[in-house]
Subunit: 190 residues, 2 copies
């Protein structure tokens, strides 16, 4: 069986979300790079994969998908095993809690953390732009409040959706990984 294909630079957070899920389920896959500088994401070939000209895109035989969370869920469903069931769709309440904290990542955690990653890493290192410290400070304030809710949640449960690791946790990895490379990552005192 030909491996599934993921289109897009692996260092993009949205591509990383898909790769993380492929790794978790142990699926065979191939990453096909998309060259943004050459505008390859707006090429006719790529627009067939994603009509909005964004990454990632995904191919499994004749099935083409886009939108990282949709691709990730397809991967988790397709390669689900008893020991790796990250969506818990067989259990109504557990699946709902996975969805709740997946949505919190998309609509609350990411909007707070991503501007810090952009301002401290992506803009200065990849775009030659200065860091806007006002944006960083406002986002740090926002993130702090968001993390207070996470702290309370994780003092009651081992993982975000409950006492089982899930897609909800995985979703937080890509931006958190980059955040840890900014000067605002303060390690806990030992």
């Amino acid at each position: 069986m030909a491996p599934v294909k993921v289109f897009g630079p692996a260092m993009s957070t949205n591509v990383a979300r898909v790769l993380l899920c492929l790794e978790e389920v142990g699926a065979e896959y191939e990453v096909v790079d998309i060259d943004f500088k050459a505008m390859e994401h707006k090429s006719p070939e790529h627009l067939v994969r994603n009509p909005f000209g964004q990454i990632p895109a995904f191919q499994d035989g004749d099935l083409l998908l886009f939108e990282s969370r949709a691709i990730a869920k397809y991967v988790l469903r397709k390669y689900k095993k008893n020991e790796v069931d990250l969506l818990r769709e067989g259990n109504l309440k557990e699946a709902a809690m996975v969805d709740v904290w997946t949505e919190v990542d998309a609509h609350t955690y990411n909007p707070a953390i991503s501007p810090i990653v952009y301002e401290c890493l992506i803009n200065p290192l990849m775009r030659g732009l200065p860091t806007n410290q006002t944006v960083v400070d406002e986002s740090l304030e926002k993130l702090k409040k968001v993390l207070e809710v996470y702290e309370a949640r994780l003092s009651q449960h081992e993982y975000l959706a409950g006492d089982f690791v899930s897609f909800a946790d995985l979703n937080h990895f890509p931006y958190t990984f980059y955040f840890m490379a900014t000067p605002h990552m303060v390690p806990k005192k030992p």
Copy 2:
């Protein structure tokens, strides 16, 4: 069996998403209004339902949920019938396409259409603020491009996820409903 409860003003687009799904599956439900002017969304009672102090929140017996898409999917799964299966989770490819276009609504359609609704309706009518025409014009440009992709998609398929109505379509209703009350709704010539 006690009806499930939805907390939040029914006119909110995110609350409407949940109500729409409850109506589609014919579930019995009760809407409990949350008074924003009285800061009820930040009250201790409501923070138990949604620790971020937002609406909607949802209660089904001892289960408390928040995040409108997570609640909506719980409702669609719980009350799924053969004739009303809006998530198609029994079919890997169909479920993936429902997810793709649900994500497109959240990350592409809503960001283009919602500023128009805010500037033309919510700000002037509910907040006494003037319409920022620059924001409206920019969003209309964005929306036009987004709708070209929709036009292409819907010329190939009856509905967004394929030739079946799904959660993906429903998600577009709340903002589209309000958009149709703005001066920018241009009806098709007969």
